[in-house]
């Protein structure tokens, strides 16, 4: 940074342009909404061609000093279209009506690290979401609030567990084993979205006994820490053509989040909101109902062996009692609560935004839930007229309690014991409070949910400072320096306690387990940008030149201790007598340089962009090698005079970006082991997979070409955007299987070519815009087709999966990257049995404001795709699925449906592949603004009060028989998603909220 300050000094000394203060008259006026005539406060009113400007007050009034002759006033207000009004000499008062910019054509969208362009000129289809769109319905985390709202972004929950666990995939599969998530940039800082598993694998052994924690632990992803209420805007760069300027971390897309900031002018604005909600399971799997002891005997008892199960059906006539075990485990209807408050205000020189969040959301299973407390302080300080300092700080404390779900090999997680537990066995606690053992599984799920604790408290601080120095501001030249430094630190503690009295703990012979983990994560980044703008006196063009540098540092250290055979029942790790320990560190250093030229010409109708980024990283085998990522884009607006069609913008963009290897992939490692006190080192010890690193390991490279058109229709009442793209990912990070006789099982290397092609359509329309009725409609459509074009090695199985017979992904030349293969009677070894990628997705929302009432809903439709419903298989295997006993005729014999399914599997893997087509009502809100007179009667300073009823995921129509078609046993995965193994069940949530502003 030392060099950067030298640069600041240099720039500051070099720029001493002269300015004259105009003398003359004072123009006064009002700015109002063109439709409702409501006064508009905080609008920027400036004198064209000068730096003179002011802000309107809350009543819309302003006064500005202007020279004596004819002048023009330019009025800006975010969310409205810019308006230019001529004020002839002699006119002193003016009323300016602004029209809402519903199509957000004038919103400035990011094009570089310190540059932006108005949306109407943009050469890329950048997805943008506003604060209002994010906060229609209370969401636990930001991604949940984005589902269905952005074309090309496939945002999917891994389970219904509270507190996150959502993955984002933009424009198809872009990596097989590399980082799979987009880059998240919050107020200029690269923030962590890690999903750090808690360590339930130690109990569930989902991936065997070797690791304490694995991806099957159903971790939350850390983006969940953000308070959705703080978000001002989200911009989504979906592919390399837009994200090239972010270089070697950007090929999965970039999500740029800006938080709310203070506003100058007017009185400070307070907002308070209190929501009270209710959550309930949205889909129970059910279980088989047994008629009588005869049915039980024929199902569970083997001739010749003693069997006492029939005695459980001792009602009259040997009928069986019915216990809804699932309802007891996951049938809670918890009351949730969310309180938010914010203050926004400031003067011309100092602006501030302060917000707080207090969110408590218990889960539908005992001892699960999510809570989040957040405090944000954003302060902006203007020093003189040239230096703008922005400080953003956010302190978050969250705690997700996610219970024990997903795959397990010990029969301990809730649904892993529910599937084999028939409805006639009574698992309820005995009068003395102890739980009976479950004779049908190693655990009693009622007992597990009542006694097991799995907590993940997080403390996090994200802070950033941006300095903007406007060194030169003349009509012809502008020179701006933008420096940002920020850091994101969090500590995640994971504490799992399985007390000794649990059935599976007693059976293990080493009763009681505690798993304690601490993660410290620090991301730091520092960047400097110089932006030079040039507009010749003729005004024929605007050229923006920017150069910058970016340094990023990522340090992560996870330490874990697991203890068994506990003394007592207090759950302290030191009470263990048998221990396992682990530490996993990451250290990555990245440096990037970039330069970009943007040229806006031909009356601002043509935009040309050229850019280049060069990156080096410690994650590469050669940390000193630079990798280059170019970009180029052009757009041109055609203007029409017809009433139906005003403007068509044609655009095309090309860009490249990368995806660096993960830390550790560049090393060929020996593992260490303890052989009864003797230290040992070697390949493949303690269950590790011997892996070779390629000697030239480097980032994946994505090349994207995007083209499309944006049309403005019906006098700005509708817009249509159509985009096609073609992505080609080369030098894929691949983990190919080696013939194990080599001693190694896998190699991490670069190679192969993968393609994604797709189409996105966005339609926004305002069918009605009157003072008493406003109706806005949004629809988006996206489809993507991925294909593996070539591989330097034979086709292979990706590292994550359950093997061919249960269905697995298979990376195969000429095939879709998300195909599933399995056994089939029609093929000899294995063949394609399905594809996880859906045919298309549609999001459709309507927002209707009628007088004081407001209705909003968002429907999300996904067509096609399959998930591997292994949960259903497990229910069938233990003769316990709800439809198991339904008789069906196979050839001439009658057999039970469930038994038939189970016998066809795994010879026919398709048996348990189910369509993930769904239609979900993602969001619904109905709100009423209380009359202002009423509000003022309660509080003279009141601005508004709103009462709303809202819901999330209220209904799902789907042929999928499992808990939810959005499911991922392996957590965040671009490939190997959609495996359903006893996930946390999804819930629907209802909210009653009161929002007040004053």
């Amino acid at each position: 940074m030392r060099h950067v300050s030298v640069l600041v000094a240099f720039v500051c000394l070099g720029a001493v342009p002269s300015r004259a203060v105009a003398q003359g008259r004072t123009i006064t006026g009002h700015v109002t909404d063109a439709v409702s005539s409501a006064p508009l406060g905080r609008a920027q009113v400036s004198l064209r061609g000068t730096e003179t400007g002011t802000l309107t007050k809350d009543d819309g009034s302003f006064a500005i000093t202007a020279p004596a002759g004819d002048v023009a006033l330019v009025v800006h207000l975010i969310g409205y279209r810019r308006r230019e009004v001529a004020v002839p000499a002699g006119q002193q008062a003016v009323t300016i009506e602004l029209e809402r910019d519903v199509l957000r054509l004038e919103a400035v969208v990011v094009t570089g690290q310190a540059t932006g362009q108005e949306r109407r000129n943009l050469a890329n289809a950048v997805g943008t979401v506003s604060a209002e769109q994010v906060n229609q319905v209370p969401a636990q985390d930001v991604e949940q609030a984005l589902q269905g709202k952005i074309s090309g972004a496939d945002i999917e929950s891994n389970s219904g567990a509270p507190g996150g666990g959502i993955q984002v995939r933009m424009r198809g599969v872009t990596s097989i084993i590399g980082n799979s998530q987009p880059l998240f940039v919050l107020d200029g800082v690269v923030v962590s979205n890690d999903a750090i598993p808690g360590g339930t694998n130690f109990i569930t052994q989902a991936e065997g006994p070797q690791s304490i924690a694995t991806v099957e632990d159903n971790p939350a992803n850390r983006l969940a820490d953000l308070n959705p209420g703080d978000i001002e805007s989200i911009e989504v760069l979906k592919g390399a053509s837009a994200s090239a300027i972010y270089g070697s971390k950007a090929s999965n897309g970039v999500v740029i989040i800006k938080t709310k900031r203070g506003q100058a002018g007017g009185a400070p604005q307070f907002e308070l909101s209190q929501g009270v909600g209710l959550a309930a399971i949205s889909h129970e799997l059910g279980a088989r109902l047994f008629r009588d002891s005869v049915e039980v005997d024929s199902t569970y008892c083997k001739p010749g062996l003693a069997c006492a199960f029939q005695s459980l059906c001792s009602l009259s006539g040997g009928r069986c009692p019915v216990f809804n075990q699932e309802d007891v485990v996951a049938g809670n209807k918890p009351i949730t609560s969310r309180t938010t408050g914010s203050i926004r205000g400031g003067s011309e020189t100092t602006r501030y935004y302060v917000s707080g969040l207090w969110d408590v959301e218990p889960g539908i299973i005992d001892n699960t839930g999510y809570s989040k407390h957040s405090l944000r302080v954003n302060v902006d300080q203007l020093i003189g007229s040239r230096i703008d300092l922005n400080f953003s700080t956010n302190l978050v404390h969250s705690n997700s309690r996610r219970g024990l779900t997903n795959n397990d090999n010990t029969g301990t997680s809730y649904y892993m014991s529910l599937f084999s537990t028939p409805s006639f066995v009574n698992l309820h606690p005995l009068p003395d409070g102890t739980y009976p053992n479950n004779p049908f599984a190693p655990s009693n799920p009622l007992q597990t949910s009542a006694l097991l604790r799995n907590e993940s408290p997080v403390w996090r601080f994200i802070g950033s400072t941006t300095v903007t120095v406007a060194a030169i501001k003349t009509p012809q030249h502008s020179l701006k320096f933008v420096g940002t430094a920020g850091s994101d630190f969090f500590n995640q503690k994971d504490n799992i306690f399985a007390p000794a009295e649990l059935q599976f703990e007693q059976a293990s012979g080493l009763p009681g387990q505690v798993i304690l983990s601490h993660t410290n994560n620090l991301n730091v980044n520092v960047s400097g940008n110089v932006v030079y703008g040039y507009t010749p006196a003729s005004g024929a063009l605007t050229a923006t030149t920017s150069v910058g540098i970016d340094y990023q540092k990522h340090d992560q250290d996870i330490t874990r201790t697991a203890a068994q055979n506990l003394v007592g029942d207090i759950g302290n790790i030191a009470q263990g007598t048998i221990f396992a320990i682990a530490e996993q560190q990451q250290r990555v250093r990245d440096m990037g340089l970039f330069a970009q030229e943007e040229l806006l010409a031909l009356s601002q109708r043509l935009l040309l962009t050229l850019g280049l980024r060069a990156d080096q990283s410690s994650a590469d085998a050669d940390p000193s090698k630079l990798f280059y990522y170019p970009k180029a884009a052009a757009s041109y607006r055609l203007v029409f005079a017809s009433p139906a069609l005003q403007e068509v913008k044609l655009r095309a963009a090309f860009g490249q970006s990368g995806n660096e290897p993960l830390y550790g992939q560049q090393f060929t490692e020996l593992t260490s082991a303890n052989l009864g006190g003797v230290p040992a080192a070697g390949l493949g010890l303690v269950g590790t997979v011997p892996t070779v690193a390629a000697p030239d390991l480097h980032p994946e490279r994505e090349r994207e070409i995007e083209g499309g058109l944006d049309a403005t229709l019906f006098g700005g009442r509708a817009s249509l955007s159509v985009t096609g793209y073609d992505k080609r990912i080369t030098d894929l990070l691949l983990q190919r299987s080696l013939p194990p006789s080599s001693g190694f099982q896998t190699e991490i290397f670069n190679g192969g070519v993968m393609r994604d092609r797709g189409v996105e359509v966005d339609l926004t329309a305002v069918p009605t815009q009157r003072a008493d009725l406003q109706w806005t409609m949004n629809a988006n459509f996206s489809l993507d087709r991925g294909k593996v074009l070539s591989l330097p090695v034979p086709n292979f199985f990706p590292p994550t999966g359950f093997g061919v017979d249960l269905g697995t992904n298979y990376i195969q030349v000429g095939a879709s990257s998300t195909q599933l293969v399995g056994n089939d009677t029609l093929c000899t070894s294995f063949c394609k049995v399905g594809d996880q990628n859906p045919n298309f997705r549609v999001g459709f929302s309507n927002d209707v404001q009628y007088k004081a009432a407001h209705l909003y809903f968002l429907l999300n439709w996904q067509s096609g795709g399959v998930a591997d419903n292994l949960t259903a298989w497990l229910y069938d295997l233990t003769s316990n699925s709800p439809d198991y006993a339904t008789p069906i005729k196979v050839d001439t014999t009658t057999m039970a449906l469930g038994a038939y399914r189970a016998t066809t599997f795994p010879a026919e893997t398709k048996t348990y592949l189910e369509s993930t087509t769904y239609l979900k009502l993602r969001e619904l809100t109905l709100s009423i603004d209380l009359p202002q007179s009423l509000v003022r009667r309660f509080w003279s300073g009141g601005r508004y009060a709103r009462v709303s009823v809202s819901g999330r995921n209220l209904f799902t129509l789907t042929p999928y028989k499992g808990a939810d078609p959005e499911v991922s046993n392996f957590g965040t995965q671009q490939i190997a998603r959609n495996f359903d193994v006893s996930p946390y069940p999804p819930s629907r949530s209802f909210w009653l909220s009161v929002n007040m502003g004053f």
Binding site: H3, P209, Y300, D590, A673, G684
Partner: protein, 455 residues
């Protein structure tokens, strides 16, 4: 126009200077293979030699378990992993999952031995006799790893020449006879090295080798392994020769031998076959057990090794049990080779050489000393076939659930069908397929790449 440009250029230059920075970071999590290969020291070699033992232990519990299931000694009943029944007992054996087992771990250890042997050649630190000791140890362990592979693949064969570029084409598949010969060659070569070694190993062997922890005594282990291999090959004279140099001794404990040890210490492994929730004994072992002299008490080996289980799991394809093995706790050892097997091998050799008197003598010795069963009078007078039946009974009960011996022996003498199938659709196997990844790069696909159907 001038000044802004100047500042831009200056700024950009400064930025480039800052950027030319060394970003190298070390591996913070593990030691590296290249370090051992390029900078070997006596200490690193010792750790790697100890790693060989850890490597060969890596899979042994699953070897015991899976081969034990093939030989119907026990069952693995996991409601969440039914393939332990549907594949291991019913079939077919899928090369993509369970069928491909007992392969990757032994081959990783074979690579470990090759890496160690190369490091030894390069090392300047260690004395020549110490190097000979390490070589003898490494080749013995390597032979054991190859043996594990060929026992399970049998007539499919297995690759031998595997010390090649792991990124190149795979080693060719050698025949069963070639692999067994390779195992014998390794054992003999190890024998030569051990004889040239000093009085102690320059590394630590754990408590599992308490009585065989120097090159001279370890030589007896090497010969014991050779005797086992020669018996598998029906080469009776050489088997006897090797056995004579082994530690077989009817005056010593039947448990004298070498063991894989486990512990509950951090980073060590708990015995994976300590799993009372999932692992069960075949009740048939009780049904077919002979009785002691009182006519009531079961074979002592059954009483010692099998107990009633806490739970009787619901049957999975007809497989259930109310019995479990009492052999293993979390820190119990698994046998590598021990005196009792050697005595039984002595009987087997005698039977193979038609020396029925000697065979009967050792069979009766084990009956009396291990099973507490009465001697069978005039056993030597019975037909070789019925002596073999008796010998196989003794081997099944003496070496129960400790190394797949019953499956190997019953396959050897073509008697797998004397076992009950247990599972509804039960099948028996004589060999396992190669794992899918071993086959993928091979064209044409050798036999052993398809699923294996039992009989």
């Amino acid at each position: 126009m001038h000044r802004p440009f100047l500042s831009l250029v200056t700024g950009a230059t400064l930025l480039v200077l800052v950027a030319c920075k060394d970003l190298m970071v070390p591996d913070l999590n593990n030691t590296s293979l290249s370090d051992l290969e390029s900078n070997p020291t006596a200490a690193k070699i010792a750790t790697a030699a100890q790693g060989l033992l850890a490597g060969t232990r890596e899979n042994v519990a699953f070897y015991v378990r899976d081969l034990g299931i093939f030989g119907r000694e026990g069952f693995d009943l996991e409601p969440t992993e039914p393939r332990t029944v549907t594949q291991l007992m019913e079939g077919p054996l899928d090369p993509g999952s369970f069928g491909g087992g007992q392969w990757t771990a032994p081959y990783a250890d074979i690579r470990n031995a090759h890496v160690l042997l190369r490091a030894l050649d390069k090392d300047q630190d260690m004395s020549a006799p110490d190097k000979e000791a390490v070589r003898g140890f490494a080749q013995t362990i390597q032979a054991l790893d190859f043996l594990e592979v060929i026992v399970t693949r049998d007539s499919f064969g297995a690759p031998i020449a595997v010390d090649i570029d792991p990124l190149g084409p795979p080693a060719p598949i050698a025949t069963r006879a070639q692999v067994y010969q390779h195992v014998l060659d390794l054992l003999d070569s190890a024998d030569t090295h051990l004889r040239a070694a000093g009085s102690a190993f320059p590394f630590r062997l754990g408590v599992g080798f308490a009585e065989f922890s120097d090159p001279a005594s370890f030589l007896a282990v090497n010969r014991a392994l050779k005797a086992r291999v020669e018996v598998y090959l029906d080469d009776w004279p050489n088997a006897l020769l090797a056995l004579d140099s082994s530690f077989m001794d009817t005056t010593k404990s039947l448990r004298l031998g070498v063991y894989h040890t486990y512990s509950t210490q951090p980073k060590d492994e708990k015995n994976p076959n300590f799993d009372p929730v999932h692992l069960f004994a075949n009740p048939d072992l009780i049904t077919r057990a002979q009785v002691q002299g009182d006519g009531v008490t079961l074979d002592q080996r059954v009483l010692d090794k099998i107990t009633a289980s806490v739970d009787t799991p619901p049957p999975l394809d007809g497989v259930t049990s109310n019995q479990q093995f009492a052999l293993y706790g979390p820190d119990s050892s698994i046998t590598l080779i021990r005196n009792e097997e050697l005595i039984l091998l002595r009987a087997e050799i005698a039977l193979g050489q038609s020396d029925l008197t000697t065979a009967a003598q050792y069979v009766n010795f084990i009956r009396e000393h291990s099973g507490k069963l009465p001697r069978i009078a005039n056993l030597a007078a019975q037909t070789p076939d019925s002596i073999l039946t008796e010998l196989l009974y003794e081997k099944r009960y003496s070496l129960m659930w400790e190394g797949g011996h019953s499956w190997i022996d019953l396959r050897h003498y073509n008697r797998l069908l004397t076992l009950s199938r247990v599972a509804t659709n039960g099948h028996f196997y004589t060999r396992m397929p190669f794992p899918t990844n071993e086959c993928t790069p091979r064209s044409p696909q050798p036999p052993g790449c398809a699923s294996v159907n039992g009989f």
